[in-house]
């Protein structure tokens, strides 16, 4: 058991750190949910790709470095430590790409992955539907066979599609067998968001920005070449990487460590400035300490997970343990920052933005209620609830 990095890992870390120090924009980019911010973030992806930092774990042939999982975590830590911009391409590279690698055809890999790696094409997920929410298997959007044209016609509505407002392509599940129920008869489709019959409508969030969109489908034609995996096999294809190690359930510890360090800095700066709190800054010390301890715990826990995965283990239901922990840590950390800001807490600030964003953590990618069910049933082995209607 040891926590020391190997020489090659140290070299990788040093290279990443040096490049980021030299290239991370001094000023934060404008929000990626605005048109100008979108362009700036796309440009940043191109710059990352040029130096082969956009998809470090991918094969060399696809702009990657074939980095190990440990190196991926190292890169993520350096990335957040450097205060580098948010990844506008994250849904594509973290959620979709692993599935294309595992289930796509060679033709699909060659067609989709390079432009995803360079940020030229940005992908949006289209999972949720208005009636489905956390119950993904209850999807109602349909795919109807069109034998003549050799493809499918998509109809229905998707919602909570992050960044779909400006993105180029989307991916999601549609019910291709109207007779089948729940997890059966779903097919995994890829589709351009400017296809005929697609309408994208932005949704304003709590903070007024349109981070999400609804997508409406009216007889949208998708050729067979853009079906991922076998028709009807969509649920299995999608779930094969639901516990994906590079995906959302294994969220990079760098994000929380960097935020906890910023929180400590905020505390220290208020200790010395005495401004603007009206009570002793020490009143909020426990919140600062607990956020820091939890961020550290998250980092060490991730090292353990990464070691197990490198040994051939699987993430499995531990992804749910992970998700509840980081999403609650993220909120508590930002609440403490707002406490420290005192009477200024309600006014616009980076901390307030971060707080608002953190509130979505326990909701998206499976609510924390669902995650706790998974922990209780799959890890602790507790019995499932009775099925049936409420009374």
């Amino acid at each position: 058991m040891d926590l020391t990095l190997s020489e090659s890992e140290l070299a990788f870390q040093a290279e990443a750190r040096a490049w980021l120090e030299a290239n991370v924009p001094a000023e934060p980019l404008p929000s990626m949910d605005t048109e100008a911010g979108w362009a700036a973030h796309q440009a940043w992806e191109a710059k990352l790709a040029e130096a082969r930092w956009s998809v470090v774990s991918w094969p060399h042939d696809y702009h990657g470095r074939e980095a190990s999982l440990i190196e991926w975590v190292i890169f993520e830590e350096e990335y957040y430590r450097a205060g580098a911009p948010g990844r506008v391409s994250q849904n594509g590279i973290f959620l979709l790409a692993p599935i294309i690698f595992d289930h796509g055809t060679q033709e699909q890999r060659d067609r989709f992955l390079p432009s995803m790696a360079t940020g030229e094409k940005i992908w949006a997920q289209a999972w949720s539907e208005p009636e489905a929410g956390s119950d993904l298997a209850s999807l109602k959007s349909t795919a109807r066979r069109d034998d003549e044209r050799g493809g499918w016609l998509l109809n229905g509505q998707k919602t909570w599609s992050s960044r779909a407002t400006f993105a180029h392509w989307g991916f999601g599940l549609f019910r291709s067998d109207p007779e089948a129920e729940r997890h059966n008869g779903l097919t995994y489709f890829l589709f351009p968001l400017d296809a005929e019959g697609v309408t994208v409508r932005p949704i304003a969030q709590l903070d007024g920005e349109a981070g999400f969109a609804e997508i409406f489908f009216e007889d949208v034609f998708v050729p067979d070449a853009d079906v991922l995996g076998a028709p009807g096999d969509g649920w299995r294809v999608a779930m094969s990487t639901a516990g994906n190690e590079r995906g959302l359930s294994l969220r990079s510890p760098g994000r929380f460590c960097a935020a906890a360090d910023r929180l400590v800095e905020l505390y220290k700066s208020q200790l010395t400035s005495g401004n603007p709190p009206v009570e002793p800054v020490e009143t909020h010390a426990d919140g600062v300490v607990d956020a820091w301890i939890k961020a550290r715990a998250y980092r060490l826990y991730t090292w353990g997970t990464v070691t197990r995965l490198a040994d051939g283990g699987e993430l499995g239901a531990a992804g749910s343990v992970n998700k509840v922990f980081w999403s609650e840590l993220d909120i508590a950390l930002h609440e403490t920052a707002l406490d420290l800001l005192g009477p200024e807490a309600e006014t616009e600030s980076r901390w307030l933005d971060g707080y608002t964003f953190s509130l979505s953590g326990p909701i998206y990618a499976g609510t924390n209620e669902i995650q706790r069910n998974i922990v209780a049933e799959r890890i602790l082995g507790l019995p499932r609830e009775p099925k049936g209607a409420s009374r």
Binding site: G133, P276, D339, T347, E348
Partner: protein, 335 residues
Amino acid sequence: MRFVLSDDQRDFASSLDSLLASSDTVSVARAWADGDSAPGLKLWSRLAEQGVNALVVPEGSGGMGASPVELAIAFELLGKHAVPGPWVESAAYLPLALGDAATVEALAEGAIGTVAAPPHVPYALDADVADRVFLAADGVLSAATAGGLTRSVDGARRLFPVTAGSTFVELVETKAEAAFDLAVLATSAQLLGLGERILADTVTYAKQRRQFGREIGSYQAIKHQLADVRIALDFARPLVQGAALVSSTRSTAESSTASTNDRARDVSAAKVACADAAYLASRTGLQVHGAIGYTQEFELSLWITKVRALVTAWGTPAFHRGRVLRSLVETDGER
């Protein structure tokens, strides 16, 4: 000893509630946030006609001479309906802080006043629409000029930094304290109304929304979270009412050190409990609603963002806890 609202107080609450329920306050608040104050000003006048602005103004100054209990009733409903505007400033703080009878009379009749009172209130709310803008600092109440708009997490709270002008009046300390405490009480009552509204809307949603084959409100995880909100609000309310009784104008007039200390302690306790309960309601409401609660077009966002803003308005929870502590440590903790 009768610790329930009187019939008159119930009637007042119910008629104000009806008025606000029929005033499309959601649209009013949204317009206000977008910088269109016309519907809000219309509602302001309508409420002024009902005497809401004049509640704690003595009858001799054209007011209603009502007690802080009525004020708390009104502010709970202003919160419940997310009514925008500098209500705390115009109808609670300034009438008590101002020595100037003419201005108080004008406020009672519906003039709009606002005030910054640093350090706890660093900005003047909605100064762009106010007839009178003040800065309470260093023992004086100055006529003040507003700077540029500062955005709040609650879009319907338009905040403005202010600079003192040359006209000012002395701010008597006992009056400043009484005014501040009444503002705290009014804010607490608003939080209570926001919390109640979020709970009611969330319960309604949980009864309709189905996931995995049943209403989400039938799941214990949801039920117990909502039960905890009910419990928190039920125990915050008596603190508001008790603090309102202690803040009654009579005891303010007496203003013995002991009663001032009690008043400060009790309004602070109410603010702490209301902020905690309303914040719990907002976090739970958002979690139960899921992603839809996170959107601006859904009404829930109006209450949720306002709760976040009012948690720190007129004194942060840390400040109010500190004030309760000091009061307990300095006295015998008699209650």
